[in-house]
C-alpha cells in the first residue's frame, strides 16, 4: 500500500501510536488536521505491521488453547449467526468486496452487501450479563463521549410522520468519527417483540462511498428513554443522516423502508 502525497513524519508517528492504542486526547485532536483517508490508510498499514510482528513473537510463545467451554459457546453462537444472517451479494469464489455502485443508489440497494452483521446485536445480547449495569455504563460512556469528543456531531430524532407527532421529542443521536463511537437516546418508540421484529440503524456517510453503514440491530425493551450504543460495522467519517428502520429479527440485507419511523439529519457546515 502506498500513501498519497508527501509522507509527514509526524503523521506517521501519530498513525503508529494509534495502531498501538497509544494516543492522547490532544493527539486525537491533532489527527483531525490530517486528511482522514490518508491517515486511515497509514493506520491500516501499521496495523498490518503490528499483526505480523505479533505473529513473529508468537512463534516462540507457549500455545494457548482456548477453554473448551468458550469454544462450545462460540460454536453455539455460530449456529445462531448462520441462522440469522443472510448471504451477502458475494459471488462464489470471490474474496473481493462488491464494487461501489453509482451515487443514485438508495437505501434498498445500498443495504444489500452490508447486512451480514445485522444479527450481531441480537446474538451478542445473549452474552450481555447485566442489563442494569449496562445502562449505567452506557450513560457514563455517552456522557464521556459528549464531554471529550471535540468532533462530536449530534442531532435530534425526527418522526417521518411529523403531523401526527408534533412537539414530541424522541431523543437524539451523538457520534464521534475520531473515536468511531456514538449513542442513540430514544424515547417514544414502541416496545418491540424481538421474536417478531427489530429496529435497525443505518448511517449515511456520502464521504465514504454513498452506501449507508449498518449501525446495528437493537430492541426497545421498556417505556421511557433507552440508550443504545451505535455498532457501526464500517468506519464512518462524515455522517449526514441516521435512520432507524423496523425489520425482521436479525435485520435485513435489503430494507424495503416500509417502516422508517425516525430520522436524524446532521447539519452540514
Amino acid at each position: 500500500m502506498s500513501f498519497v502525497g508527501p509522507v509527514d513524519f509526524r503523521m506517521q508517528e501519530l498513525a503508529a501510536g494509534f495502531s498501538l492504542g497509544d494516543v492522547t486526547e490532544a493527539e486525537l485532536h491533532e489527527i483531525k488536521s490530517y486528511e482522514s483517508k490518508i491517515f486511515q490508510a497509514m493506520v491500516e498499514r501499521f496495523e498490518e505491521v503490528a499483526a505480523r510482528t505479533f505473529l513473529t513473537f508468537q512463534e516462540t510463545a507457549p500455545a494457548e488453547p482456548m477453554p473448551e467451554e468458550l469454544s462450545s459457546r462460540l460454536k453455539k453462537m455460530a449456529q445462531g449467526f448462520n441462522k440469522k444472517s443472510a448471504i451477502p451479494n458475494v459471488a462464489k469464489g470471490s474474496n473481493i468486496a462488491p464494487p461501489i455502485a453509482p451515487s443514485s443508489i438508495g437505501l434498498r440497494e445500498i443495504a444489500a452487501w452490508l447486512c451480514v452483521a445485522a444479527s450481531i446485536a441480537l446474538v451478542l445480547s445473549v452474552w450481555i450479563p447485566s442489563k442494569s449495569d449496562q445502562i449505567v455504563s452506557l450513560q457514563q460512556q455517552r456522557d464521556r463521549l459528549i464531554t471529550r469528543a471535540s468532533d462530536l456531531v449530534r442531532s435530534k430524532w425526527e418522526s417521518t410522520a411529523p403531523d401526527q407527532m408534533q412537539g414530541f421529542e424522541f431523543g437524539e443521536v451523538v457520534w464521534s468519527s475520531v473515536s468511531q463511537q456514538g449513542f442513540m437516546t430514544i424515547r417514544g418508540l414502541p416496545i418491540n417483540d424481538a421474536t417478531q421484529e427489530q429496529y435497525q440503524l443505518w448511517i449515511i456517510d456520502p464521504s465514504r462511498d454513498e452506501k449507508p453503514v449498518d449501525g446495528g440491530v437493537f430492541d426497545i425493551a421498556s417505556v421511557g428513554e433507552s440508550i443504545v450504543p451505535i455498532q457501526a460495522k464500517l468506519r464512518v467519517n462524515t455522517p449526514t443522516v441516521f435512520a432507524i428502520t423496523v425489520e425482521k429479527p436479525g435485520g435485513v440485507v435489503v430494507s424495503d423502508q416500509k417502516r422508517l419511523p425516525l430520522l436524524a439529519e446532521i447539519a452540514v457546515n
Binding site: 497509544d22 491500516e44 505491521v49 500455545a63 482456548m66 451480514v116
Partner: protein
C-alpha cells in the same frame, strides 16, 4: 509454539472464503483454526478472563462479518485475522480506559499455559517475513514492541517496568514500528487491503 487446529478436510487457504459463502460448518472450521491465535491475543490484551472471553466472541463475530473482504492475494489469513483481533482489542482497551481511572496491569488469569502444540506453516511463513526486520531494531525498541504488541501492555506499564520515561517508551515504540514498516516495505511484504 502456537497451536492452530486444522480439520483434515479443510484446505488452509480457504476458510474465510467459505465463511463468506456461509458454507456449512465453515464457522466451526474458522473457530477451530483460529481459536488459539485469537485466544492468545485476547488473553494478553484483556484485564480479566471474563473480559477476554467477551472479546473473543466479538472478534469471531467480526471475522465472520468481514470474511468476504479477505483477499488472499494481498495477505495471509492469519495476518487478516490478527489485524481484526488486535483492532477490536485495542478499541475495547480504549473504551475501558475512558471508564476506568486506573490502568492496573493486574490480571486474574491463573497461570501460563503449557508448552504444547505444533506450528502452522502459514504462521511460520508470516513470522519469517518479519523476523529479519525485527532483528534490525535496537534491543530497546524490540523489547518495548514485544511488551506492547505481544504482551499487550500499555506504554505506562512498560515505562514502570523498564523504569524509563513514558515519553521515551512512546517514542521507541512508535519509531520502532515505523522502522519495521519501512523494512517490510523494502522486503516487498504486501498490504492486506482490509477496510475498517
Amino acid at each position: 509454539m502456537l497451536r492452530v487446529d486444522q480439520s483434515p478436510l479443510q484446505s488452509i487457504e480457504s476458510v474465510l472464503a467459505q465463511v463468506a459463502r456461509r458454507e456449512p460448518e465453515s464457522l466451526n472450521y474458522c473457530i477451530e483454526r483460529y481459536s488459539s491465535l485469537v485466544w492468545s491475543l485476547a488473553r494478553r490484551y484483556s484485564p480479566s478472563q471474563a473480559d477476554a472471553e467477551d472479546a473473543v466472541q466479538e472478534i469471531f463475530l467480526e471475522i465472520w462479518q468481514k470474511a468476504d473482504r479477505f483477499n488472499p492475494t494481498l495477505s495471509a489469513e492469519t495476518t487478516f485475522v490478527t489485524m481484526i483481533a488486535r483492532r477490536r482489542l485495542i478499541d475495547r482497551y480504549r473504551k475501558q480506559s475512558r471508564l476506568l481511572e486506573t490502568t492496573s496491569s493486574e490480571s486474574d488469569f491463573d497461570e501460563q499455559p503449557d508448552l504444547t502444540g505444533s506450528a502452522s506453516a502459514e504462521l511460520m511463513d508470516e513470522a519469517a517475513k518479519a523476523t529479519r526486520c525485527l532483528d534490525s531494531l535496537v534491543s530497546n525498541q524490540r523489547d518495548i514492541l514485544r511488551k506492547s504488541i505481544h504482551e499487550g501492555k500499555s506504554h505506562s506499564q512498560i515505562s514502570t517496568e523498564l523504569q524509563m520515561p513514558l515519553g521515551s517508551v512512546k517514542s521507541f515504540a512508535r519509531r520502532g514500528l515505523i522502522q519495521l514498516r519501512h523494512c517490510m516495505d523494502k522486503f516487498s511484504v504486501a498490504g492486506t487491503g482490509i477496510a475498517s
